[in-house]
Symmetry: C2
Subunit: 586 residues, 2 copies
């Protein structure tokens, strides 16, 4: 037996017990002829003590001990003279009588402590050492707890967890599919699923009624900041439901998770139309932890000979509380910030609402105190606040104001990681117009149902048709989304034609699902949550990488195992493939 | 709202309630001017009644209704005059006032009933219809329940469910790896895991202490009867444990599953050395639902001038209870059966133990009644039994007798699907000798630890070294297996050299794990259960295909979605690949 207890288990009441512990040497220090070793395992840290009376055998072993050695120690539990209130085992220590090195360690490339001295790259290369650090391990334990809570809730709600295949079919639209050559079927390929979308709809056709799965999905795309080629979804679908049934079920799940995992009560769960989110927050994933709503001041600012505003499609403003004292330097910095290409404004107009009731703006030449007071009134700005104004193309400026709003929220400390504000964004447009290809695309996917009251607009104003589609947003992060599906084949055919598919193309891409719908498809709707993102939100982390045991880097590489990698010619031969690598430019 | 209740929910106490149900038309029949429709959903079947007073609108709808139409019906719950005791809703019916067809159906290609008239191929092509059949859906529900029970037990035991990557690294030994070309890393490939073996060992090095995962694994091999290219494992690993800890933990899981899912109490959970399993059952996965042990009668049958036995390395027998009355025809059939290449015997000798105490054998010329009585005594055969004897090469004949034993068990009805006899097979040989390549292979994998008491044999008699490896066998099915791992790098180096790896080869294949072991590896051990097989055992099914929602056929094809399939040249180009399909022979 390697241990009688874990390193997190012993308390004062165990005093006098002979125990055996095993774990890693966190640190070793000598003090007044005694040697103290902090022994660590997943469950905690226990202090081992070796005194001058230790046997020669122990003493010589002890000399060799370095950080991260795996050892086994037997001894008596005793009360500590100087207690450590910071750890659960801090009242006791082990007076060691027997010591065995189970496994030595070379010096680790970074310190295995809560705050490591290792950079990202080295920690990723030695991920198995990084995972020894308590905060990293705790993120993964949180992930496991959350998965368990999700399953408890959904099982309770009669959902059937069903595994769908990983080796599926590549479709012409699947440009971002990972493909898998088949040895048994020469020249043919499987694809890895970007989501189990069609399978979960088939399960509804199959009468499963309520399906879920916590499932790996795959996308072979250029990885932006916080994407991974493989990621995990909580994937769900329900039959004989309307949008409201889905929202209330998954609102229930979200509340349950917050309560079960973080002991946070969510009482308020607003639904916000997409148009309102864009108008007020400049974003379809508004962070509602703070107000600072975008105000349209176009009406009141025009006609005062300020050409910039007079020529603009849209002039919008936000009011930053208590920022009237911003310096010239701070205002210049903000101006540069909004002019960055990612934000896209041409310039920034400000109005300081001075404590004495007067206004000072960068456009005083054109606007009177009364004018500025009117702006302040629209923006709910009071004395001490700072009004920030952007002008230009409407959708671009709403976006830029949304970004500026978040920046000011950050500067003002309004985005507390322990405050959680979820909401549903609903009534998304059904279609998105693509300038380049001069055609509509489905904003969600081609099976998303239009709102019944908008169906009459499908021919006349397709761009104004709203969808029965919804996103769950928490603290400005899109956690999940879904839609009510079309289950009527005529409406589906109409959608395909709106999306510019010929009948043959629709058949080639969606044939097996369309075929299934001929045999009695129930009304159904579904949703998928990004599980990695949800966990990182709960953990208060910015990156999903921190909640994945073995993540890949921005180039899609696992630097620990050095993958992907070349494979043998024989293996390619067996798969009937040849490399066709383009010559490098010199 | 599509429904107020499900089709499995209403009872007599709901009498008089107005309800709305939705589901599929199971069947429609007319009787005395009334029309009865059995409405089906996942939860049950409810009878709808339409009488002569139905509105014209309803009557015209009703006329069109066919099997598998999806409909919605509103009406009053009333007591049935002729009750159906076979279904939970059999005491009531719905007097329908409103009817709506939600989705029509063309005639399905086979009947959606418990016993379908559809063959395997058509049911697989229309798997979404096959899944509508109650027994098929119930297999999948059982699977979900079992996954849930596995998680409950392991979470309770402090295991952390951790997701390991699906896109991993191809290794030279990974001849059966599925590979995945990377678009971002030109000419390089990921591989899909055959198991998360190395990752779970890394998690032990990382101090996770107890890991599990219900995880998809992949193997690109020629598919025998009951294999799938993607399959699901319950994958586990524990640190600071010895073999006995793993056995008792997973014995606990197995007992828990039987109790929680099937309400079966398993009291007895024997451990059987591999050598004993082979000697008594001719198999390393003995079916212990019945005795009929193999007996070695070599000693007593030799030297009586029967050349076949005199020349044989081994003569073994089993006794089939009550089969002394087998006819000539039955015995000939058995003889042919054992001579099939899969069994591999040269012939069959029998001894009938007649009711009158005499013996009648196929070798009466050589053996006296006393001789035969001696055989019977060794075989525990009594009057009325039939002794079956095979002779030849020892290991081949043990195998053949094991197969014959199972065949007789089947013929005698000794393999009741509702009796469950689990056991651990332990003390497997560490190494397997391969005649063709004239070298040893690891019987489990190269990280399996030899038994401490056999380590001294590693150089002198490597073939006799036993491993700390174990298999869980239930009713003759190998449910899972695992081993204590080597965590000592010297012993590991010795293993690699025994297995004929050069240092470089070992480094190339197992480098990142070996490297991790330098930083303090804890003693650890693990196990993996074949989840598909476990579910099919619980469901009383012979094939794992029946417990997989969307299985592939023997050629690795998903005939429903028609995958794998060719992909576009552009897609190959992007992946820097070219097809290299060999010309077909004509």
């Amino acid at each position: 037996m390697y241990r009688t207890h874990t390193c997190g288990e012993l308390r004062l009441e165990n005093q006098g017990n002979e125990v055996t512990l095993a774990g890693w040497v966190q640190r070793k220090r000598e003090l007044g002829g005694m040697t103290f070793v902090d022994l660590r395992d997943r469950y905690g840290i226990t202090q081992l003590v070796f005194d001058e009376n230790s046997s020669d055998a122990i003493t010589s072993q002890l000399k060799k001990l370095g950080r991260e050695f795996v050892i086994q120690a037997t001894g008596l539990v005793r009360e500590r003279s100087s207690k450590n209130k910071n750890i659960a085992t801090g009242e006791i220590e082990i007076d060691v009588k027997e010591l065995k090195v189970l496994s030595p360690s070379v010096v680790p490339p970074f310190t295995i402590e809560d705050e490591s001295d290792g950079g990202d790259d080295i920690r990723m290369k030695y991920r198995y050492l990084d995972l020894r650090r308590t905060p990293v391990r705790e993120n993964l334990i949180l992930r496991a707890q959350m998965a368990h809570a999700v399953r408890s809730y959904l099982n309770e709600q009669d959902f059937i967890e069903t595994e769908t295949p990983v080796l599926i079919k590549s479709t012409p639209e699947g440009a971002r599919d990972f493909v898998v050559p088949s040895r048994m079927n020469e020249g043919e390929f499987y694809a890895l699923p970007q989501s189990p979308q069609q399978f979960k709809q088939l399960l509804m056709v199959a009468g499963f009624d309520r399906y879920y799965q916590i499932v790996k999905c795959f996308r072979d795309e250029d990885l932006r900041a916080d994407r991974q080629p493989e990621f995990t979804q909580i994937d769900c679908e329900m039959a004989f439901v309307e949008q409201e049934d889905v929202l209330s079920t998954f609102e229930g799940l979200t509340k349950y998770l917050f309560k079960a995992v973080k002991n946070v009560e969510i009482t308020d769960f607003p639904r916000m139309p997409y148009s309102e989110a864009i108008a007020n927050y400049g974003s379809d994933k508004p962070d509602t932890r703070f107000e600072m709503l975008i105000k349209d001041i176009s009406e009141v600012v025009k006609g005062k000979d300020f050409k910039v505003f007079d020529d603009a499609e849209f002039i919008g403003a936000i009011s930053a509380e208590g920022c009237a004292n911003y310096t010239r330097k701070q205002l210049d910095a903000l101006t540069n910030w909004v002019k960055r290409p990612q934000v896209g404004a041409k310039g920034l107009v400000y109005v300081k609402c001075n404590e004495d009731g007067s206004y000072k703006s960068s456009v005083d030449k054109f606007y009177s105190q009364e004018d500025l007071q009117q702006w302040a009134s629209i923006c709910n700005a009071k004395a001490g606040d700072l009004i920030l104004v952007l002008s230009g193309d409407k959708s671009a400026m709403l976006y830029a104001l949304g970004a500026l709003r978040l920046e000011m929220g950050k500067q003002l400390g309004l985005m507390d990681k322990n405050t959680f504000k979820p909401l549903w964004v609903v009534d998304f447009p059904l279609l998105e117009w693509d300038e380049e290809s001069q055609r509509h695309y489905a904003m969600h996917h081609p099976f998303t149902s239009p709102k019944a009251e908008d169906i009459h607009l499908l021919d006349s104003e397709p761009g104004n048709v709203r969808a029965n589609a919804y996103d769950l947003v928490i603290n400005g992060v899109e956690i999940g989304g879904g839609s009510v599906r079309i289950f009527d084949s005529e409406l589906q055919a109409k959608m395909f034609s709106l999306l510019g598919f010929t009948k043959e193309e629709a058949e080639a891409q969606f044939g097996f699902l369309m075929n299934a719908f001929k045999y009695g498809a129930p009304p159904h709707a579904g949703i998928a949550f990004g599980f990695d993102r949800l966990v990182s939100l709960f953990a208060g982390l910015d990156s999903i990488r921190d909640v994945i045991a073995f993540p890949k880097n921005n180039a899609g590489r696992d630097v620990m195992i050095d993958s992907p990698s070349p494979i043998a010619i024989e293996q390619l031969d067996e798969l009937s493939l040849k490399l066709n690598v383009k010559p490098q430019d010199n």
